[in-house]
Symmetry: C2
Subunit: 321 residues, 2 copies
């Protein structure tokens, strides 16, 4: 099913948008005069925290499963995820009547473990290392013939994630800059392909925590340099780029900009306070790069993709310094 190193095109993303439309929310776009004044630019926020399963990940997950329509639903799908991809795939599988197994590290956020359980998937816990995650996943694939749905390094996943920017730019073609957070790079890949094709002059930035800056270093080095023990409050951005997302981002993204942890927390609080919405720390990284670089963004019309809202309320970082 997966086409190795063949990148999606705008046409693939447009077809995906039609395919997943009956299953997804068209997420709203919010604005705040106070945030515009504070940042000296015009900001539009695409709210994937309101997407099904609470994150953009559902777009890719449902697309990947719809592309399995010829394969018996008795054959389970499997993925490894510390977070939103697991919940999204579990929900998508439930909707389509397919079995789903999610391999999760023992230390995954409680709220994300509960989501996977709620949607009825089987969870297999592993040690919080890349090796344990891969070994556990491969063992189950071998034993049960499960089909791997990779969280980001997958053609259909990237197509799904790109539908958010596709919707966004159809409504706001005036955007001069679009910013998405980057972890494994599925969202940023899809965003950059959709944006550069729909609006050729647009500038696309990836926003990354300085404490998990593999995308920044990889793009500068011209080769994938995985993160080693990244540690950031943005728990959705710990993973490193894959070969497909590295290729897409190298080709379509203007730059990766990194930010400090304290700015991520500050941005998260501003979104709660002025947009009146609940986001997880990973979603705040895009606004954070504007806060750290107000001169660079002054006067621009900017689209920000808020990636998700699955956060442990008892541990909101701006309340627990």
């Amino acid at each position: 099913m997966r086409k190795k190193l063949v990148l999606p095109t705008l046409n693939d993303i447009e077809e995906t948008a039609k395919r997943i439309k009956p299953y997804c929310h068209i997420t709203p776009v919010l604005t705040s005069e106070i945030l515009n004044n504070l940042c000296n630019c015009t900001l539009f926020f695409k709210c994937e925290n309101f997407q099904k399963s609470g994150a953009f990940k559902f777009r890719g997950a449902i697309n990947a499963l719809l592309n399995l329509s010829g394969i018996s639903t008795e054959i389970p799908v499997i993925t490894h995820s510390s977070g939103n991809h697991g919940g999204a795939l579990a929900k998508a599988a439930k909707l389509l009547g397919r079995k789903c197994i999610v391999v999760m590290p023992e230390n995954a956020p409680k709220v994300k473990i509960e989501a996977v359980k709620y949607y009825g998937a089987s969870i297999v816990f592993c040690k919080p290392t890349l090796q344990s995650r891969e070994d556990t996943t491969n063992k189950i694939i071998k034993e049960k013939g499960a089909l791997l749905i990779h969280p980001f390094n997958d053609f259909n996943i990237i197509c799904g994630q790109g539908t958010s920017a596709f919707e966004f730019l159809k409504i706001h073609p005036e955007l001069e800059i679009i910013i998405a957070p980057v972890g494994g790079g599925g969202l940023l890949s899809g965003t950059s392909i959709a944006a550069k094709s729909l609006t050729p002059g647009i500038i696309v930035y990836g926003a990354e925590p300085r404490e998990a800056d593999d995308a920044y270093r990889s793009l500068n080095a011209g080769k994938i340099i995985p993160s080693e023990n990244p540690s950031t409050i943005a728990d959705g951005l710990l993973t490193s780029l894959g070969e497909l997302t590295f290729a897409a981002i190298s080709q379509h993204v203007n730059d990766i900009i990194t930010v400090k942890e304290e700015t991520i927390i500050q941005a998260m609080k501003l979104v709660f306070q002025y947009l009146k919405i609940v986001i997880e720390p990973s979603s705040a990284v895009a606004l954070a790069i504007i806060l750290e670089n107000t001169g660079k963004f002054k006067g621009a019309t900017i689209g920000i993709i808020l990636s998700g809202g699955n956060v442990e309320l008892a541990g909101l970082p701006f309340l627990n310094p």
Copy 2:
């Protein structure tokens, strides 16, 4: 300007909706499968926390000021408010280039005092008693010739607040029940007039904290019984009905249902968690009456008006038991 004991009609609310449209947001309606499953009914949430100034109050405030268009903008408007009406009037006055004075009790929530300041109105502090509030306001009216814009007991204010339910039922005519919180009764008056006229069979409930249950007692007694020292976490619902809102609610509302403080807090947490939005405690009271009466609401299609989102994040009650 104010027509004493003449209640607005659907036509008045429809005209108001047209008048205020260039100034207000059409607020989104959100849903959550998880909340539907939890409550055993189908819930639609009209999100006034996304309205300008962060609360439905802006609808009434801008309408009241637009109705002053023949009067020199040099003549200031004045109101007394511990909360959202003050911020809303300040913002509306700023937009229309009119001076604004807000009388606030010394103990008003910090976040609401800051909003009034941000929008550029003058604040005059008073003691947190009805007497001090009225004396202070009347003194300024006498000295400066300021025009009083009452927070709720006012024809134009009620017309403005009714536009939320008007928008809501235009998009969701299938609602069988609509619920709004009740403090002074402006929102519930406007909601009930709009709802009963647009959808004659609809049931309208007011949701009220048990610790500030003047509307409940007033409706049962057939006369206004003001609250004495009400104490509830829902700081927007401390005021008692006025003669105009009492008349509207007596005529159009099916019942007032009261709830415990702990259920308000529980409802507030559920909205943060599953709708992914920031609301203030007063907004949570409507969902709270469903949580306390699941049998009564089972299977129904229900519209809830979430009144506002101006809350001190450092004091979220479900995190600070």
